[in-house]
């Protein structure tokens, strides 16, 4: 790791201002990507601005229609929030399977979706639940937020302050975890809105990161049941092929995980 200047601002405004002053500043949330990359000397930011201790970025609000999770709230806090479990248990379950306890104590929702790792779990929840991402500048709809591998709609220096999830009628997440990292080799989040609309988001399977699968959504909208997907064949074009599994294996995983998610949601 090269030398850097570490900052711990107490407000979002201060953080944003520090960012503009640095020659190559980076925000630090949970640090699960940035710190290893710095250790490997693949990144050498001039300034590291820690968002995890900003009071206004931590907390969860649950209303009648939505769950709003502040940007620097940890996976652990989300997984163990009783109100969240009551209204969107899929989100509690998802966050309780990210990494291991040490990861969950440190990792944050904002850090995860800002990083947009193609195998991260939370992007699937954000997309399937049709959440909106609030930043220090604006609000961004889930479908507009993720822009492919490690990229998002965020501008340079923009900070995610909260993510708001509309409460669905039914939802569940099923993932096939990489057995060592617990990242999703493939994870599928299915949600049925109170209005009866169905959204299905897949993570881990595509190099471009999280994606919706129209065929699954249509089939489930017609029939909210695992058997609705029995005859579905997911094409493997564009799916990730690596030492852990071929594109065809991941295509099968999308279908099976979607079925298991529907079973869990019903």
């Amino acid at each position: 790791m090269y030398a850097t200047t570490y900052h711990r601002p107490s407000s979002v405004e201060e953080a944003a201002s520090l960012f503009t002053k640095g020659t190559d500043a980076r925000y630090l949330a949970g640090g699960h990507t940035l710190i290893p990359v710095m250790k490997q000397r693949l990144a050498a930011p001039s300034d590291v601005i820690d968002l995890a201790k900003i009071p206004s970025l931590v907390g969860i609000d649950v209303s009648a229609d939505a769950v709003t999770i502040k940007g620097a709230t940890t996976y652990y806090d989300i997984a163990n929030n009783a109100q969240v479990r009551k209204v969107i248990s899929a989100l509690s379950n998802l966050t309780s399977t990210i990494g291991d306890p040490a990861v969950r104590y440190r990792g944050t929702i904002g850090g995860s979706i800002a990083n947009n790792d193609p195998a991260a779990d939370l992007p699937a929840a954000v997309v399937a639940l049709n959440a909106s991402v609030t930043t220090n500048k604006r609000s961004i709809a889930a479908d507009d937020f993720f822009k492919g591998l490690f990229s998002t709609a965020l501008d340079d220096g923009e900070i995610i302050t909260a993510v708001t999830f509309p409460i669905p009628a039914q939802a569940a997440y099923a993932k096939f975890p990489h057995p060592a990292s617990r990242f999703a080799l493939t994870g599928v989040f299915v949600a049925k809105t109170k209005a009866g609309d169905v959204r299905a988001a897949v993570t881990g399977a595509s190099q471009n990161g999280v994606m919706r699968v129209a065929a699954i959504e249509q089939a489930l909208k017609a029939n909210w049941s695992p058997s609705a997907l029995d005859n579905l064949r997911i094409p493997d074009d564009g799916l990730t092929a690596d030492i852990h599994g071929s594109a065809a294996y991941r295509a099968n995983l999308i279908k099976v995980m979607a079925q298991r998610a529907v079973t869990a949601a019903s």
Partner: protein
């Protein structure tokens, strides 16, 4: 034989002496050590699978501020290729070229130079500044490529059947006449199996800290399975005499055979000698995966014939094992152990040692035996199916017993194989019903076990307690077990016996921790040393009482008058005699050094249940019972731990572990994120049944236990998968994509 039946400590799972330090983090591993003035060493490794080294220019690295020394092959003693110099099972011709590439770099990760600098970062930077002129050569990774007639030859001087070849050796074991045997067979099954290279997977990477004084006196702290092996190899590779090298065994974070050779020590010694500073070297996990171990990948063909009543009449095995870049794959284990559990009149077992552009293999827990057993035990399963005989009944019918001439040579003394099969058959597990998509498999296994050189000192402290010093690094619980043995003989509480592992200059030569030798050998020397101490103590009591030493016995921690004198004097305890030692002839202690003989092989029989997720091809082991003849479980907790650890490693080998090579001939998964060792959540609780048929040639009846439990596992898992799915896998690992593909193919065929 001196097997005491009414034991107080032998057979107890006493508190392990290294436990507190390991739990609290106080235990000192090699990477924890520091010395004043210490600097850091790093290795420059070849990026090519195969390349001639035309020249190395280290001048830019040497000029970098902070760099204190650079070494290349020129600094390592060369052993000419035409003359073998053996140290144990290692040939120094290959060792000198493995620790530092000489004429050619033979695998990606092969060291070509090493640098010592004031920081790790400077050392790493200096490595980048070394210019190596490589002539890149064609290469081969897989066995089938390496044995093709036009394969690129790794070592031009290596010939097989008169021609340059990558076959570095052949071993043939013969009993009877297989042609005659197969002629009598009514059912014959012949199959070919492949296994992938797997790493020992010790959690602690290789590490050492080495200081060389101005007078040449050298001190080594390192992680190894044998401080004497480290001293001898370092001496041979640096030219420093053994008397000047003190090799201190650090606590070891796992070895499983992989730390029976050196990698860093000769380099760090030469860097320390050149720089005049102590040099520390610690491998990264990636270096461990690319340049150390693993065990061989293999291709095996096994043919077994039986008569309709289930009597096996002939067996033949051909085992091709990968050696990596230098000769020395464990063909002896594959060819020699695979048929050993059985009484078969006609056996032909052949092993081939195959070179390819991979890192040199190192020993891995019963080296070669699990590979052979995978093939043999799966064929037996098919044979049992064809004969409609219970697979354990088939094994029982053909089981080797006392008097059986083993396929690998010896005539067995009293052995406990039959008892392991019977215990498995009678286990609750074997009778338990199976659930949906579940299957059950069984397999047996054998390992030679070993004895050999061992030294120990038993010293009575001035306050009447005991210090035992032995010479084998403790990987599997030898300190705890030795404390039990010594305390038992002395009749004192085991907590009064402190067992330590001496360094090379403080205890006599002891062969490395390997071959499941350590408790067998060290209990033998410690028993003799303790008996000598007891004899001395009895003599001293006799002197005090003014009676014949023969009229004194040692019981329950004290000398007692016996025979005609019984009861005449109050007993003299160890503490009292220690107190009187100065006046009675001085300190009490004994040192024993032996080349221990009488190690007997060990047998195990395993029962495995799996459940298959047919949508995703995932095999999960849901229940597992390992039965083993352990001779005598001196410390049952540790023995169970050995069985459970071996099974865990075997399940990894069967289901998920493999070296994956990319198109450039490099390992694509050199870390635990991508190389899949099982973790606790992948495994069920592994049950054990310890069968105790004492070794008649050992004072406590000890047999080696550490290696046998890996031998049957892959076959037991594969047989269980077959039982669950009706589909047999001949290639490991049975990873989810492969299992799913096989299921889809089967479905399509229906």
């Amino acid at each position: 034989m001196n097997v005491v039946t009414n034991n107080k400590w032998i057979g107890q799972s006493t508190i392990r002496p290294d436990g507190v330090d390991k739990v609290t983090g106080r235990a000192a591993f090699a990477a924890d050590t520091t010395m004043p003035g210490m600097i850091w060493g790093k290795v420059l490794r070849s990026p090519h699978p195969h390349a001639r080294i035309r020249g190395i220019d280290t001048s830019k690295a040497e000029a970098l501020p902070g760099v204190k020394a650079v070494v290349t092959a020129k600094d390592i003693v060369e052993f000419p290729v035409d003359k073998s110099v053996m140290l144990g099972i290692q040939d120094m011709r290959w060792m000198c070229r493995n620790v530092m590439a000489r004429e050619k770099a033979l695998f990606p990760g092969h060291p070509v130079a090493a640098v010592a600098a004031t920081s790790e970062a400077i050392a790493a930077k200096a490595c980048e500044l070394i210019e190596v002129d490589y002539e890149v050569l064609p290469w081969s990774i897989e066995i089938e490529d390496a044995i093709k007639p036009d394969a690129p030859i790794l070592h031009e001087f290596n010939t097989f059947e008169g021609k340059p070849s990558n076959i570095a050796g052949k071993m043939e074991l013969k009993k009877g006449d297989v042609a005659e045997g197969f002629a009598r067979a009514e059912v014959v099954v012949e199959r070919t199996f492949t296994t992938r290279a797997v790493h020992q997977g010790y959690i602690e990477p290789h590490a050492c800290l080495i200081g060389v004084g101005a007078d040449g006196k050298t001190t080594i702290w390192s992680s190894s399975q044998g401080q004497f092996m480290v001293r001898a190899m370092t001496s041979l590779l640096t030219g420093i005499p053994q008397s000047d090298i003190r090799a201190i065994p650090a606590e070891i974070g796992g070895g499983f055979g992989g730390k029976t050779i050196v990698y860093l020590e000769p380099l760090a010694t030469m860097l320390a000698k050149k720089s005049g500073r102590p040099v520390k070297m610690v491998m990264t996990r990636e270096e461990v995966m690319r340049a150390t171990g693993p065990t061989s990948a293999s291709t095996s063909t096994v043919k077994i014939g039986a008569t309709k009543d289930g009597k096996i009449v002939a067996a033949q095995g051909t085992f091709y094992l990968q050696a990596g870049a230098f000769p020395g794959s464990p063909i002896r284990g594959a060819a020699g152990c695979s048929f050993s559990p059985y009484d078969i009149p006609h056996v032909l077992s052949i092993g081939y040692d195959v070179l390819s552009n991979r890192s040199k293999v190192a020993a891995y827990r019963a080296p070669g035996a699990p590979i052979g057993a995978f093939a043999v035990e799966c064929v037996l399963d098919e044979l049992a199916e064809a004969l409609k005989i219970d697979p354990l009944a088939l094994r029982l019918k053909n089981a080797a017993k006392e008097g059986t001439k083993a396929s690998h040579g010896p005539v067995y003394p009293r052995i406990g194989y039959v008892e392991t099969v019977e215990a498995a058959m009678n286990s609750e597990h074997y009778k338990a019903p199976l659930g949906k998509l579940q299957g059950r498999g069984v397999a047996s296994g054998f390992w030679f076990n070993a004895g050999g050189e061992s030294s120990a000192q038993v010293n009575i402290t001035e306050d009447g307690n005991v210090v035992v010093t032995t010479g084998h690094p403790d990987i599997g619980g030898s300190r705890a077990a030795i404390a039990n043995v010594c305390a038992e003989l002395l009749g004192i509480d085991y907590r009064r016996v402190s067992v330590i592992i001496g360094d090379t200059q403080t205890v006599g030569f002891s062969n490395l921790t390997g071959g499941s030798r350590v408790l067998f050998a060290s209990a033998m020397v410690v028993t003799q040393a303790t008996e000598q101490v007891i004899a001395t103590l009895c003599k001293r009591a006799a002197k005090i009482w003014e009676i014949d030493p023969e009229a004194v016995t040692w019981e329950e921690g004290a000398a007692r008058p016996a025979g005609a004198n019984a009861g005449k004097f109050p007993p003299l305890t160890l503490k009292e005699l220690a107190d009187k030692a100065p006046a009675l002839g001085g300190p009490v202690g004994a040192s024993v050094q032996l080349n221990t003989q009488g190690a007997e092989g060990g047998f195990g029989t395993h029962v495995c249940d799996v459940e298959v997720d047919v949508d995703l091809g995932i095999v999960r082991v849901v229940r597992y019972t390992a039965v083993q003849d352990v001779g005598r479980a001196v410390h049952p907790g540790y023995v169970e731990g050995q069985l459970q650890g071996g099974v865990g490693q075997g399940i990894g080998w069967a289901l998920s572990e493999e070296y994956i090579y990319n198109k450039d001939g490099k390992v694509d998964n050199p870390g635990f994120l991508d190389y899949r060792m099982p973790v606790c959540s992948d495994l069920p609780m592994i049950d054990t049944i310890l069968v105790e048929v004492p070794n008649p040639k050992h004072p406590q009846g000890v047999k080696g236990v550490g290696e046998v439990p890996l031998v049957p596992v892959m076959a037991a898992v594969a047989n269980a998968v077959h039982n669950a799915l009706g589909k047999r896998f001949y290639a490991l690992p049975m990873s989810p994509p492969k299992v799913l593909e096989a299921l889809e193919v089967a479905q399509a065929a229906e």
